[in-house]
């Protein structure tokens, strides 16, 4: 469903991605690991269409369509979702109002009926229950005054409501205590299905004991230097990222 070929990208005048090749199929969970500065988050943001990131070469197709030609909202509407590493606080915008607008925009694009207030409430209540969230959440401004854990949980909650085809989780585990991590992982696992794929960006193996990946990729200096199954994550946990500094996989 997602094919990335020779992707190069830069931000603020610096080349970060230097030739990423990646292929994800429906039903799969891919983990992207790597040391700080390797380009993990850049990859996530490029896929979501962040305007500050410039693609300088390569292509990305999503279900056969040119993803890079779409603006960020179109990507969201066709089913690409990114859970932000740093969710943005938006004072004055009510969570429920925002999410209902987003959901109905996405539903409309997918040819589904828009939900009225009652239907929306029924849906979000059910999703909140799964994520062990307080309903008061709905009436707070988006992310404003949320703790780090609440922000991450809110990202997963939005994902659960918007039901994307491809979910990119950008270091969703960072800053979470073990209970919150379990809740987030349960939320993701509940959504795993044959018509959905996940790209889980993480620095640590910890999250991957809860969200078990099908494929693990290791990123270093803007390239994927190794790919393997879940045992690769454990290997990294043992050896750290130090061995990557040797010229492995470089042409």
């Amino acid at each position: 469903m997602l094919t990335v070929r020779n992707l190069h990208a830069r931000v603020a005048g610096r080349d970060i991605l230097k030739g990423i090749d990646l292929s994800v199929r429906f039903g799969e969970v891919h983990a992207i690991m790597g040391p700080n500065g390797s380009g993990k988050s850049t990859l996530a943001r490029v896929l979501a269409g962040h305007p500050e990131y410039e693609v300088t070469a390569g292509e990305v197709t999503f279900e056969g369509e040119d993803l890079l030609a779409m603006d960020p909202e179109t990507r969201a509407r066709v089913g690409v979702f990114m859970a932000f590493q740093y969710p943005v606080e938006i004072p004055g915008v009510n969570n429920a109002y925002f999410l209902k607008t987003a959901l109905n925009t996405v539903r409309k694009h997918r040819g589904k009926e828009e939900l009225d207030a009652m239907e929306f409430l029924t849906l979000v209540r059910e999703r909140m229950k799964q994520l062990d969230m307080d309903e008061a959440f709905l009436n707070r401004p988006v992310n404003e005054g949320f703790s780090g854990g609440e922000k991450k949980r809110n990202e997963i909650f939005q994902m659960a409501v918007l039901e994307p085809r491809l979910a990119v989780l950008d270091e969703t585990d960072s800053g979470l205590d073990i209970d919150a991590l379990r809740v987030v992982a349960d939320g993701v696992n509940a959504m795993r299905s044959a018509d959905r794929a996940f790209l889980v960006v993480t620095h640590y193996q910890r999250l991957l004991t809860y969200i078990v990946p099908d494929v693990v990729h290791v990123l270093s200096e803007g390239r994927i230097v190794r790919s393997g199954d879940k045992s690769l994550a454990l290997e990294l946990e043992d050896k750290g990222y130090g061995w990557l500094e040797e010229p492995v996989g470089k042409p």
């Binding site: 969710p87 607008t101 925009t105």
Partner: protein, 441 residues
């Protein structure tokens, strides 16, 4: 200079005045004209007008608007509130239009109607109040209004009376007079007795595409414990010049709120002056403005804490698009007697384009030592991270910007207790923002 034409207009207006206009008022008008001729129009050398050139007004030969009470003009009104309101007074070109107005039964002793009619019938009735709160000594536009006003609204609520529905005072301008751009000088006088309460909404509108000059003065006198919720919704034609003063004198423990909403006009200057003249007054000043194209909006406010234990809360927020310019000057005076003053001022502007501009200045003059005074000002652009966040969830660029702008204005809108006003303003904002954002895209 074009000042002479005002003397000519004044002489003509004087000749047309009803013969029963009280002598004291006639004298006041003569003095006001003399004062205006001496002051002339302010220039940018005048500190109060440093950023605002009124040359476009000063350089034109406006003629006093002609009475025109054609019922079709009611169609120009952008805001009608129907049953949610009690009285609706409609003025066309500064003259009362009884056929377009409705005045239902009011509490005993209350007066709501044409100021000119009231003056004609009650020779000394307004003497104690008219031109008392709005001093024209150093204000050229107030002087000009005092000399030239033909009519306006008179609202007097006796002690202990409470109006359960708001009053709407609407001023419509139709444009030209005798082939020249027209001017009108509406006057509103509000007198609230002790313990009385009223909500008053003034709206200003004009025939689209026309150029004219509205120069309004509102004076409000609040007795002790009186409550006034006052709105001024300025939605003039985009080619119009609007200068408005709102002057309030609040007695002991009175509660006064002024909401100033500026959506139209090519060149707009709003002055709000609140004198907290008794102990324990609560004063709220709310301001909201939107300008696009090359339009210019200036808001000057003064809160004069003259007595102890008064509180004031002021929030002004503006949105400027294209090449629009805004000015905000918020003065807070705390007199030596005004101990325990609690004053808070916030002023924020959102610039939607690189070419939009705002000049903003808080001015605190504090002469008492046991007071709490805070102010904050910020000028910024839309948070691009927030825009991306909303887009990444499926909202279109325009929709995302719209949502953030509404959030920006949220607290000012929510501080307006009258729901129909909030909805009316939101509807106009919606349309204007859609245009401004489309132009920016």
């Amino acid at each position: 200079m074009m000042l002479d034409q005002y003397a000519t207009e004044y002489a003509a207006a004087r000749a047309r005045r009803p013969s029963d206009e009280p002598a004291a008022l006639a004298r006041t008008r003569d003095e006001a004209l003399d004062r205006f001729m001496a002051l002339g129009f302010p220039t940018t050398r005048d500190e109060e007008w440093r950023f605002t050139s009124v040359a476009p007004i000063a350089d034109q030969a406006f003629a006093l608007a002609a009475p025109d009470t054609d019922a079709r003009h009611a169609g120009i009104l952008p805001f009608r509130f129907g049953d949610a309101f009690s009285a609706e007074l409609v003025f066309v070109n500064g003259q009362y239009a009884p056929a377009l107005s409705t005045v239902p039964a009011l509490p005993a002793g209350a007066q709501v109607g044409s100021l000119a009619a009231y003056i004609a019938g009650h020779a000394s009735g307004v003497e104690g109040h008219l031109a008392q709160v709005a001093s024209f000594d150093r204000r050229a536009f107030v002087a000009l209004n005092t000399a030239l006003f033909a009519d306006g609204a008179y609202i007097q609520i006796p002690a202990h009376a409470v109006l359960d529905k708001p009053i709407h005072v609407a001023f419509i301008s139709t444009g030209a007079a005798n082939g020249r751009p027209a001017m009108s000088h509406p006057r509103v006088l509000v007198v609230l007795g002790d313990n009385s309460q009223a909500s008053i909404v003034e709206t200003y509108a004009g025939q689209a595409g026309t150029r004219y000059f509205t120069n309004v003065v509102t004076e409000a006198v609040l007795g002790s414990h009186a409550v006034l919720d006052h709105y001024r919704l300025q939605h003039e034609s985009r080619g119009a010049y609007h200068v408005g003063a709102m002057c309030v004198n609040a007695g002991r423990s009175a509660n006064c709120a002024s909401h100033s909403i500026s959506l139209g006009g090519a060149l707009v200057r709003n002055d709000v002056l609140a004198v907290l003249a008794g102990e324990g007054v609560e004063c709220t000043l709310n301001g909201l403005y939107l300008a696009d194209g090359r339009r210019f909006v200036d808001n000057h406010t003064t809160i004069d804490h003259a007595m102890p234990h008064c509180g004031s809360r002021e929030i002004y927020k503006g949105i400027l698009a294209d090449r629009a310019r805004g000015v905000f000057n918020g003065k807070i005076i705390v007199r030596p007697d005004a101990q325990k003053t609690d004053a808070k001022q916030t002023n924020r502007a959102l610039l939607l384009s690189e070419d939009a501009q705002v000049n903003s200045k808080p001015e605190l003059e504090i002469f008492a030592n046991d007071v709490k005074c805070t102010h904050g000002a910020a000028v910024g652009q839309l948070d691009e991270d927030a825009v991306f966040y909303l887009r990444s969830r499926g909202l279109g660029l325009t929709e995302a910007r719209h949502m953030l702008i509404h959030a920006f204005l949220g607290d000012v809108l929510h501080r307006m207790p009258l729901v129909p006003i909030r909805h009316g303003v939101e509807a106009v904002l919606e349309r204007q923002l859609a245009q401004a954002l489309a132009a920016a895209a």
